[in-house]
């Protein structure tokens, strides 16, 4: 069909009408993930929240406050601290999702994608996958930082993997929260405001940075029922960075792995339908 090629050679020639193929949700999601990862490549400072910021927290807590926080862990506060900071970093996965989604809705990118013959869910799946990759970079950076300051994996290999798996599952649950906040807020600034004023206090009111045993009774109860505490306790135990929670701790801390899995299931069950509804309400009008 040389005539086709000839007409294409001039700018006034006919446009080609390519055949549109139905693609899978996975392929669509990966295309969107790829695009989000190009963003990170073009703006590496987007990774600050999973690199410089947690390393700063490690330095701050390990070397500034560390001396005045007594823990029962054999290897000392620095080793004990690491799982806490990792949990906080992963909780911020929701932040990454929310900011990205709000920006895409705001700039009309979501509308553009919804006008294409793709599954709308691929927008959210793609956003979630890139967020998990984003968080994983944080986990690697944290692990390396930990190794430098004396943190070690002291449990079995399987348990160690279990700890990492719990962190990623937690990140998955947090994504739904991110979609909810990202769909509900009108601007990136609003998202930042909401996230900083909720996630930060939530992670501090837990055993992430200081043992809950030393808190006042009311705070201690709140902290020990905080889902983040279950996660941190579970990861610490799986990595051999602490012993079992002391007697008198709240029930979730006595069985932290099961409690964490239940929390993840509960958070997903609540936030997944809520976030999808909010996303549709926001974008389909």
């Amino acid at each position: 069909m040389s005539s086709d090629i000839d007409t294409r050679a001039t700018t006034t020639g006919h446009l080609e009408r390519p055949v549109i193929h139905q693609t899978s949700l996975l392929r669509q999601s990966l295309a969107i993930t790829r695009r989000n990862l190009i963003h990170i490549k073009r703006m590496p400072e987007m990774l600050m929240d999973v690199t410089i910021q947690p390393v700063m927290f490690v330095a701050l807590f390990a070397y500034v406050f560390g001396g005045s926080i007594a823990v029962s862990a054999a290897a000392g506060y620095r080793e004990w601290l690491l799982a806490g900071i990792m949990a906080q970093t992963i909780a911020f996965a929701s932040f990454v999702v929310a900011v990205g989604l709000t920006a895409d809705i705001d700039k009309g990118i979501v509308d553009r994608m919804r006008s294409l013959p793709i599954r709308t869910s691929s927008i959210l799946v793609g956003r979630s996958l890139s967020s998990l990759i984003h968080s994983s970079i944080g986990i690697v950076v944290m692990s390396l930082t930990g190794l430098v300051i004396g943190w070690r994996l002291r449990g079995s290999f399987i348990d160690a993997l279990g700890g990492y798996a719990l962190l990623l599952l937690w990140g998955f649950a947090m994504i739904w929260l991110g979609i909810l906040v990202g769909s509900a807020m009108r601007s990136v600034e609003a998202v930042q405001g909401v996230m900083f004023t909720t996630i930060f206090p939530l992670t501090f009111l837990s055993n992430a940075f200081a043992p809950s045993e030393n808190m006042s009774p009311v705070l201690r109860t709140l902290a020990e029922w905080n889902p983040i505490s279950s996660l941190v306790q579970a990861v610490r135990e799986l990595w051999g960075n602490t012993g079992p929670a002391p007697d008198g701790s709240a029930l979730p801390l006595q069985h932290p792995v099961v409690a964490t899995l239940l929390w993840i299931a509960l958070l997903t069950a609540v936030f997944a339908p809520l976030s999808i509804r909010t996303f549709r309400r926001r974008t389909e009008k």
Binding site: L15, V19, R27, S115, E284
Partner: protein, 344 residues
């Protein structure tokens, strides 16, 4: 070979039924959209035959964007039906999405991606293979004079370049139906004229176009038919010419070569109309006219006379006059109690 030129008799898509010959490519019947108490679109109907351009003209808040959002499956009509390439927008959104492209009000290209990466992202979401995406991208970048900028991050593009890329991205899969929501808003006059050229080419290639605009000139330049919308309703419809005729006030304008002929010319024109206005400085005469028939009559009169003419023609009212005539307010002014346009 999987590709086909638009003009080919075999024109059609693998997964979309080709609309029957003569069937409208875009059709709306009694479209209504409520947002809570607010009625954004209040019973809009129109039909766009394949290969033609419909201009939807109206001020901010008239309901243009909401209509486009309903026709492009982004929001469901409260009532009424929309069809694109024969597919119902509410019941077969996927088939509609395969048949149409949308360029929204804001340039929805990704600023952190290069022009090529933007094209590639949308191309791969359409399920096009790599080679096709590459070919289409090369062709589109060239068409839109973006070849040199193709590998640059969009953040560095000018407003006009962004708009052109935005349109190029909508054309990656060469949809037979294209919706453009205020495609040239915010563009400088030169970029606007350039974009018009590209749109004319697309239509020449058989693409059906629905474009909304606040610019009367734009509708006049591009559209075969125009619907004028105001406060969620269509208040007038027709070809640009019909709309201008409807508001009357066309004028016959004659310019004579020699100033001495002005009086004689005036006398001749009196045979056609009683009110002849003479502008001596411009050597021209103006008289109200019914239409082209008066031009022909005048031409015949002058043909048999000694008077030499520089120009003879019909001056039609601008669409701006039309809008003022129809609505009582100018198109550029937002209506006082106008509805908030739902932006993308």
């Amino acid at each position: 070979m999987e590709k086909r030129a638009v003009g080919d008799p075999g024109y059609g898509r693998a997964m979309t039924a080709t609309p029957a010959a003569g069937a409208p490519a875009i059709e709306a019947v009694d479209l209504v959209k409520h947002f809570g108490e607010t009625v954004a679109v209040d019973g809009v109907s129109f039909s766009v035959p394949t290969g033609t351009v419909l201009g939807m003209l109206g001020p901010n808040g008239a309901g243009k964007t909401t209509t486009v959002r309903m026709m492009t499956t982004l929001t469901r009509p409260t009532s009424g039906t929309g069809r694109v390439a024969g597919h119902d927008v509410a019941r077969e959104p996927d088939a509609v999405r395969r048949a149409m492209g949308l360029t929204g009000q804001a340039a929805t290209v990704d600023e952190l991606l290069t022009g090529r990466e933007n094209l590639r992202l949308i191309g791969s979401l359409y399920g096009l293979d790599r080679a096709t995406i590459k070919r289409q991208s090369d062709d589109l970048l060239e068409r839109f004079s973006l070849t040199d900028a193709g590998d640059r991050v969009v953040k560095t593009y000018s407003g006009g370049m962004r708009r052109r890329l935005d349109l190029a991205v909508s054309l990656v899969a060469t949809p037979p139906v294209l919706f453009l929501d205020e495609p040239t808003t915010g563009l400088d006059p030169r970029s606007r004229v350039e974009l018009w050229e590209v749109l004319r080419e697309l239509v020449g290639d058989g693409t059906t176009l629905l474009l909304t605009t606040q610019y009367l000139e734009e509708a006049d330049q591009l559209a075969d038919r125009i619907v004028v919308v105001d406060r969620g309703r269509i208040i007038a419809e027709g070809t640009p010419l019909e709309l201008k005729d409807a508001s009357g006030k066309a004028a016959l304008v004659v310019t004579v070569s020699r100033p001495d002929d002005l009086d004689a010319a005036e006398g001749m024109l009196r045979g056609i109309s009683d009110e002849v206005h003479v502008d001596r400085a411009a050597r021209s005469l103006t008289a109200p006219a019914e239409g082209l028939r008066d031009v022909t009559r005048a031409a015949a009169l002058f043909e048999g006379s000694e008077i030499e003419l520089d120009d003879l023609g019909l001056q039609r009212p601008s669409l701006d006059d039309v809008f003022l005539h129809l609505t009582g307010h100018r198109a550029e002014e937002p209506t006082d109690d106008g509805l908030e346009e739902v932006s993308a």
